[in-house]
């Protein structure tokens, strides 16, 4: 026993303390509890992972039966294998840094205890998701992180746009979860269990599914779930809006951990996907399409957090491309490095926003490198990491994914490289707009306090050196052999794409600052389409939301609810009144008249009995 349950239980304890008593606690106690429990969880993860070395086989701990109906048994079982270990370290490690950062970022905000209680609750659910040893327990964590995401996006609930964004995130995720639950039903129907071990063990007796068979359908349904949680086409629309939440939330939930749950889930279900190549192709295709599509939007956004939001969508697409082409290790590797540099980008952006007292528009920033040197340095570190410039972390993971894509099909590779160039372009564009040139805003800029910059520095070190973690090599025994041959030519192509994107950004936003507007004017139509996010929100609004709301209002509410249900209830009441008003006429109020009626009744009864022969 390694007491795996302690890992999620510690943040849960923090949630209970802050959630129940936080209102009466001083701020120092609140953040000590919140950060302390996560720190303890991180230490416990480290201890467990070290104690379980080399972790060649999954370490399962069964605690109690959660559901037992007929021959269905679902236990509260936690398991740790290498994949889990990687996820645990990322979630608790990055989570801890973001918790520390939040102490500074949220210092002047109301609802301090509420914020930390939600963050701790999120950690609990995320760790449950990662540690679960069966699909249903994983689904509990899956839904729980969705709930926390909703609560934290809508943290400033007095802001209409924030509550709208929270609702949007929750509802869009519901669509994905619908696919996930259907997949769970099919899994149980075919394998009589939802245990990872039993299901994947049972797969041995299945042929590889080359058509639209059961396994392909399960895989596609799981993919639907993953597109919801991990913001892929067609369900990615909630993530950019989710930036309404506080920036640490964007960093923790909507960049580093929760949104990668879909990638984790697909990697976890790798044995199933490997037997369903069509589903795999869909994963890769959707990932690549999302990566490309989101990158084009990211290139023209002006809100700093939106740039990084689309960048997250795009990078998640990369991870899908990785797992979809069979490079599960590389996909998870990119998940890890992305957690470092994207959390850093968001936290850095938060630091900039904090420094400028809430300004998010990059057109009103500029020249900040002198005023916020630490933030500038760490943002630069994250930028070179995400852009894929060697030898920093993003380069290694992205390169592995691109190699795997090349092996599957050169077309995937070339689109991937183009996306990489765009990625490099938009992050460097953000850097040039924010930190170089002349300052274009009014707010008085100041560097953030050490409690915020310290986590940034740690993340910067991880972003730069994260490539040293040989994640895919460590995960290799878990997945089938997948080692595309090293190809120096492809390496050169992807490196030049990274530098090319950076160079274009430099040319447009530093060397000739007038050029972007000229290009935008020349390609007016294309620019507007990308700037307005291809009107996807509007299209969804017209094709899905409006008909749904209209049908609900006109048919379900005014038709069925008001007319049929209320009509039936009120109709019964009205009919009773009507009958009563008729019977009322017989009531004269004279006792003697009633007595006469009684007499009449008795006599007629006697006569009737006599006629019918009842009285002898």
């Amino acid at each position: 026993m390694q007491h795996l349950w302690l890992i999620p239980a510690l943040p849960l304890l923090g949630f209970l303390i802050n959630g129940l008593a936080g209102r009466r606690l001083p701020k120092a106690v609140i953040h000590t509890v919140a950060v302390g429990t996560v720190a303890l969880a991180f230490v416990w993860v480290l201890k467990t992972v070290i104690a379980l070395q080399p972790l060649a086989t999954p370490h399962v701990e069964r605690y109690f039966d959660w559901i037992r109906v007929g021959d269905l048994r679902i236990g509260f079982d936690l398991a740790a294998d290498r994949l889990t270990a990687v996820m645990l370290l990322v979630v608790t490690g990055v989570g801890l840094l973001i918790h520390i950062y939040s102490i500074g970022y949220m210092a002047h905000e109301g609802g301090y205890y509420r914020f930390f209680a939600y963050l701790n609750l999120f950690m609990f659910f995320m760790l449950t998701l990662v540690l679960a040893a069966n699909f249903l327990l994983m689904f509990v964590g899956w839904e729980g992180v969705g709930l926390c995401s909703y609560l934290l996006i809508g943290f400033w609930f007095l802001k209409k746009s924030a509550t709208n964004a929270a609702n949007k995130a929750f509802i869009v995720n519901r669509i994905g979860d619908f696919g996930f639950t259907l997949a769970l039903f099919l899994l149980y129907l075919n394998f009589k269990s939802l245990d990872f071990g039993t299901v994947f063990g049972g797969l041995a007796g299945w042929q590889t599914d080359t058509g639209m068979g059961t396994l392909t359908i399960i895989g596609l349904l799981l993919l639907v779930g993953a597109t919801g949680k991990s913001a892929q086409i067609p369900l990615y629309v909630w993530l950019p809006d989710a930036m309404e939440g506080p920036t640490p939330v964007s960093a923790l939930i909507h960049a580093a951990t929760m949104v990668t749950a879909g990638v984790y889930m697909i990697a976890r279900s790798a044995p199933l996907f490997l037997k369903a190549p069509i589903a795999m192709d869909w994963v890769a295709g959707i990932g690549l399409a999302t990566a490309f599509f989101a990158a084009t939007i990211g290139m023209v956004q002006t809100d700093i957090k939106r740039v990084f939001a689309y960048s997250t969508v795009s990078q998640l697409g990369y991870m899908f491309l990785g797992v979809g082409t069979g490079a599960f290790g590389a996909g998870i590797f990119h998940l890890v490095t992305h957690a470092f540099f994207k959390a850093l980008l968001f936290l850095g952006a938060g630091s900039v926003i904090h420094a400028l007292s809430g300004e998010q528009d990059m057109r009103r920033m500029g020249g900040l490198w002198k005023k916020t040197p630490v933030t500038f340095a760490v943002m630069l570190a994250a930028t070179v990491a995400i852009a894929g410039i060697p030898p920093f972390s993003g380069f290694w993971s992205k390169d592995e994914i691109l190699l795997s894509a090349w092996q599957r099909s050169p077309v995937l590779f070339w689109i991937g490289v183009l996306t990489a160039a765009m990625t490099s372009f938009y992050v460097f564009r953000a850097i040039f707009l924010v930190f170089f040139g002349t300052y274009r805003g009014e707010a008085h800029a100041h560097e953030s306090p050490p409690v915020m910059t310290l986590p940034l520095v740690v993340l910067a070190v991880l972003s730069l050196g994260g490539g040293a973690f040989q994640v895919s090599k460590w995960l290799a025994p878990m997945f089938p052999e997948h080692a595309p041959p090293e190809n120096p030519l492809l390496l050169a192509v992807s490196i030049s794409a990274a530098f090319g994107g950076a160079l274009v950004a430099w040319a447009l936003y530093w060397w000739r600052p007038a050029l972007p507007d000229m290009i935008a004017a020349r390609l007016k139509w294309l620019y507007r389409a990308a700037f307005r996010k291809y009107w996807v929100d509007e299209i969804y609004g017209a094709t899905v939301v409006r008909p749904l709301v209209g049908t609900s209002r006109e048919v379900l509410w005014r038709g069925i609810d008001v007319e049929v249900i209320d009509g039936a209830v009120n109709g019964i009441g009205r009919r009773a009144l009507g009958i009563g008003s008729l019977l009322r006429l017989a009531q004269s109020g004279y006792i003697r008249s009633y007595a006469a009626w009684v007499l009449l009744g008795a006599v007629s009864l006697l006569i009737a009995l006599g006629v019918l022969g009842g009285v002898r």
Binding site: Q587, S588, G589, Y590, I591, R592, A595, A596, L599
Partner: protein, 103 residues
């Protein structure tokens, strides 16, 4: 049973008394009188019970009579109390005046 009064006489008397009771209840307006009419009806029935009991040599009819008398006594107690309260509140014993429930 020589020289006994025939049963039919008792029954006829009982029927006459009962009809008087019904008539009194229907046609008199004073509550007290109606009340007495009810007593009359009850006692008419009692007479029938006793007559049959004597004729059939069975004690059951007489037992029933006692039950009826007990109920009648209880009814008189409750009924007279109600009449008293009604009179206190309305200063009338005319039954046709008491029809507020109708409105």
């Amino acid at each position: 049973m020589p020289n006994a009064v025939p049963l039919s006489w008792y029954l006829a008397l009982s029927a006459v008394l009962f009809t008087l009771g019904v008539g009194g209840f229907l046609f008199r307006r004073n509550i007290i009188t109606m009340f007495m009419s009810i007593e009359l009806m009850l006692n008419a029935v009692n007479l029938t019970f006793v007559a049959f009991s004597y004729r059939l040599r069975q004690i059951d009819g007489q037992v029933f009579t006692f039950f009826v008398m007990v109920v009648a006594a209880a009814e008189a107690a409750v009924g007279l109390a109600i009449i008293l309260i009604v009179f206190k509140n309305r200063a009338t014993l005319q039954v046709d005046d008491l029809r507020t429930m109708k409105d």
